[in-house]
């Protein structure tokens, strides 16, 4: 072995551990908040709002789990095993709601269904009801409905792949054994797809727990809103950390479920048969299937999109210089985070192949844990860790030069990028990992035996093979950073407002129509990953 190889393997070895530490340390720090003396704010919170928070969170978990499961599994079953008018089209269109951030969906529906909104107005007019007649829509059921409409695609996507992979043979076998369609669904298809469904549901619930914008718009108190209030309302970072640690406990349970779903996800027959449509629906049943899929698509994508565009048209004048700087900030933060996380993802994916020790594998697992951790929790964690570092830096600086410095990292762009990095590392890791899978050891050896080494090897083999993976990773992170709300709200430095921050500001004041314009930009960006998914699904 040459010393160069020694250096490079040490680089991957320590690189992966460093990245894992960047995720792990903030999490440990959060639980450390319980060691600090309890503050008045915490006492107040524990006595008054904590029971509500826990109740609301449990309701959210149960409601979103049941809702996304029913919607996601039924739609996936229809498009993957039945044939009905429009099926090919629904197959990919049902992924579209992925592009809508929950908080956009929330304010659009509030704008539509609110007291002053067009729907209640029409109802009053149609039934001749008095102007004072109204229905309260800021209800927990509305929050759940909106979450389910936006988050069902997680279940839909995973269940759809699972059903397709089962192949028609399993279902036909069930029929030859005398089961009816319903029996074969419940006794064969559903149990086979169970790991995928559990995985999808836990991802959806994780997103629901992490959401800040939608629950804020509906005044539905959850941990994320409480964290925000104790930070910005009481300036009590300690209480915020304690809340964050409680939220993390919920997340860990979900994470366990999701890992379970993923590790057992090979309940398939190994082959994806794209033509596995077993049931050709006719007549009324075919119409019912089309109407059902159409209705979901209408509610979850078409209506909110049309409403957004209608509103945005009125406020097109907002597109001024200030707006452009907002867009610039968003893209700049997105680009910085994309570059950092893509590099991090590459380090993790490559380390996994260069060094097979359990510590490296554990590092990669920890490093890719961030997707499960709500942005608000990460924000608190990053804030804690960096302010501790800042204090130490200030002490050393004072001792060295006699000059007092205040914040170095806290309140800097760096702190925000660090939070993005932790949250989206897994997002970047996955596409890089799967493209790196194509460069099997034998590919490298084949290249070497044909005389390709060093720079030529990297340039002619690795870069071209990895390019699509790296691009996908960077693009996914860019889009998700653009949509990210809670961590951005909590950590953004002065003068770094983004589109999501603007949407929060406008929608929290009830200015739905003005919030539409930045939302359209975000939805357009959000369509990119959906498009990528749809293309990959075709292959």
């Amino acid at each position: 072995m040459t010393s160069a190889a020694g250096f490079s393997s040490r680089f991957w070895y320590w690189g992966s551990r460093l990245l894992a530490a960047a995720i792990l340390v903030p999490l440990v720090v959060i639980f450390g908040a319980w060691l600090a003396p309890t503050t008045e704010v915490w006492g107040h919170l524990a006595a008054t709002v904590l029971p509500t928070l826990i109740g609301n969170t449990l309701l959210l978990i149960v409601g979103v789990a049941i809702g996304t499961m029913l919607l996601g599994v039924s739609l996936a079953w229809l498009v993957s095993t039945c044939e009905f008018p429009g099926r090919r089209w629904f197959d990919w269109a049902l992924m579209l709601p992925f592009a809508l951030p929950t908080y956009v969906m929330a304010f659009v529906f509030l704008g539509l269904l609110d007291f002053q909104g067009p729907v209640q107005g029409l109802v009053r007019q149609a039934f001749g009801l008095p102007a004072s007649w109204s229905v309260e829509v800021r209800h927990s059921a509305s929050v759940l409905a909106i979450m389910v409409l936006v988050l069902y695609p997680y279940v839909y996507l995973l269940a759809r792949v699972a059903f397709l992979k089962q192949g028609r043979a399993a279902l036909e076998a069930a029929h030859t054994l005398g089961m009816t369609s319903w029996q074969s669904f419940f006794r064969v298809a559903l149990p086979m797809a169970r790991p995928a469904i559990i995985g999808g549901v836990s991802l959806a619930v994780m997103e629901a727990l992490a959401d800040f914008g939608a629950v804020a718009v509906f005044n539905y108190d959850t941990f994320t809103t409480a964290i925000y209030k104790s930070w910005f309302g009481f300036f009590d970072l300690n209480a915020a950390s304690q809340l964050a640690s409680l939220l993390l406990l919920f997340v860990f349970v979900l994470l366990y479920l999701e890992r379970y779903g993923r590790s057992r996800a090979r309940f398939d027959n190994g082959t994806t048969s794209l033509d596995s449509r077993t049931y050709r629906l006719r007549g009324l049943r075919a119409t019912a299937a089309s109407v059902y899929c159409g209705l979901v698509l209408l509610l979850a994508f078409i209506i909110p999109m049309v409403q957004l565009l209608l509103w945005a048209r009125h406020w097109i004048d907002d597109l001024d210089f200030a707006y452009m700087s907002l867009l610039g900030n968003t893209l700049a933060l997105g680009a910085m985070a994309a570059i950092a996380t893509t590099a991090g993802g590459l380090v993790l994916a490559y380390a996994l192949r260069r060094d097979t020790s359990w510590l490296t594998r554990a590092s990669v697992r920890i490093g890719t844990l961030g997707y499960a951790i709500p942005g608000s929790v990460l924000a608190v964690a990053v804030m804690w860790s960096l302010s501790w570092i800042d204090h130490r830096v200030a002490e050393v600086w004072l001792w060295l030069t006699g000059v007092e410095v205040t914040w170095v990292f806290v309140g800097s762009v760096f702190s925000l990028i660090l939070a993005y990095f932790a949250r989206f590392l897994a997002l970047a890791f996955n596409p890089i990992d799967s493209t790196l899978e194509q460069v099997r050891p034998s590919v490298r050896e084949a290249a070497q035996s044909l005389g390709l080494t060093g720079v030529a090897l990297v340039w002619r083999i690795y870069v071209p093979i990895l390019r699509p993976g790296l691009l996908t990773a960077a693009l996914l992170v860019l889009v998700d950073v653009m949509k990210e709300m809670p961590a951005t709200l909590l950590l953004r430095p002065f003068g770094w407002d983004t589109l999501a921050v603007r949407i929060y500001g406008l929608s929290s004041e009830g200015l739905w129509e003005r919030a539409a314009l930045p939302s359209v930009a975000l939805v357009a960006a959000g369509l990119i990953p959906v498009f990528l998914l749809a293309v990959r699904g075709r292959r």
Binding site: V443, E445, A446, Q448, S449, L450, P464
Partner: protein, 350 residues
């Protein structure tokens, strides 16, 4: 002179020994096949010749030039060796033509293109010039991998389980085809495989391997008909052993009567108990035969049928018969022996 000389090499794979005191030679223009079960060190020997595996003892030379010895190894890219990998290892982002040309990329473009087209013609994929590997079938990919390895005109070509992922029909056809291509291009090659038909179809000489050692290095005919040990006999082909007692002049007394071996002489004393190998093609189903037996199993293979037969004593025999004869299970039949080459080993106490 031998083109490839592998002399008494020892290797470890991971932390367990893979090859011990391993030697063989391949002469210019010859195709050698290494046949053995998986885990016998076949792949390790190829990787050692390629330069990816260091050797602990011994020497590897190609065309008289030292390639490996303990503490010294010519870099893989400096060796005049081409390799066809088991999983083919085609570069997914390059077209078929680019894949083939990558080993000769320093030559003028026109020469590269000429070589690529010539090789595509030889492998019969002239119309796949600008296709991508994933657009090809398994057999086509195999041929492209072969062309890519042949392009830089290596002195020696190595093939690692080249057809393992293909179905039987294709494997048979392709192994003959690849042999023709190798002969046509005058290549010297080492093929590693765990399929006996593949080794026999491709190799001029076959090395039967077990646990990091070569048991026999010989022509396919001799491996099958003159195995040097019981181990080789049981690793290669089908057959059963029956007991025989050696008498003078190479004659044996068996429960099937007296059998005579005119080809071999035996140094064992008269009266030695020996095991005699009966291949399925040595046993004929013959209504005139003197031996009676009962059919216990039959495996219809289309052009012939493999019968398992039981003698009155309980001894089981295998017989290959034309599928025109159709015996039922439990049917009584008569047998005769057609022994050209007798294979016998002294019975070892178990």
């Amino acid at each position: 002179m031998a083109l490839l000389e592998v002399e008494k090499i020892s290797c470890v794979y991971g932390d367990r020994p893979a090859l011990d005191d391993f030697s063989f030679k391949v002469v210019q223009g010859e195709i050698a096949a290494l046949l053995g079960p998986s885990g016998c060190g076949k792949t390790t020997i190829l990787r050692a010749i390629l330069g990816f595996e260091p050797i602990l003892r011994g020497e590897i030379r190609i065309a008289g030039e030292l390639m490996s010895r303990p503490g010294f190894s010519v870099l893989p890219e400096r060796r005049p060796v081409g390799m066809v990998f088991q999983d083919r290892a085609l570069f997914p982002h390059l077209t078929v033509a680019q894949n083939i040309a990558i080993g000769i990329r320093r030559e003028p473009k026109a020469d590269q293109d000429q070589t690529v087209r010539r090789l595509l013609g030889i492998i019969g994929l002239g119309d796949c010039y600008s296709r991508y590997p994933h657009e090809l079938s398994g057999g086509q990919q195999e041929r492209v991998a072969l062309a890519r390895a042949l392009a830089p005109q290596p002195r020696l070509l190595l093939l690692d389980e080249p057809f393992a992922s293909l179905d039987i029909d294709l494997r048979e056809r392709l192994s003959l085809e690849v042999r023709d291509i190798l002969k046509e291009t005058g290549s010297t090659a080492v093929v590693v495989t765990h399929y006996q038909d593949e080794a026999f179809a491709m190799g001029d000489r076959v090395g039967v391997m077990k646990q990091g050692a070569i048991l026999q290095w010989d022509t396919p005919f001799n491996i099958y008909h003159r195995p040097v040990s019981r181990q080789v006999a049981s690793l290669v082909g089908r057959g059963v052993f029956i007991e025989g007692i050696l008498r003078e002049e190479g004659a044996f007394d068996t429960e099937l009567g007296r059998v005579q071996d005119d080809h071999n002489t035996y140094s064992h004393p008269s009266g030695t108990r020996m095991d005699i190998l009966l291949r399925p093609d040595d046993v004929l189903i013959d209504s005139e035969g003197e031996i009676s037996a009962t059919v216990t199993k039959k495996a219809f293979k289309g052009d012939d049928t493999l019968y398992t037969l039981r003698l009155a004593s309980g001894t089981q025999l295998l017989a290959l018969a034309s599928s025109h004869k159709d015996l039922e299970i439990d049917e009584e039949t008569r047998l005769s022996l057609d022994l050209e080459h007798l294979v016998a080993f002294p019975r070892t106490p178990e």
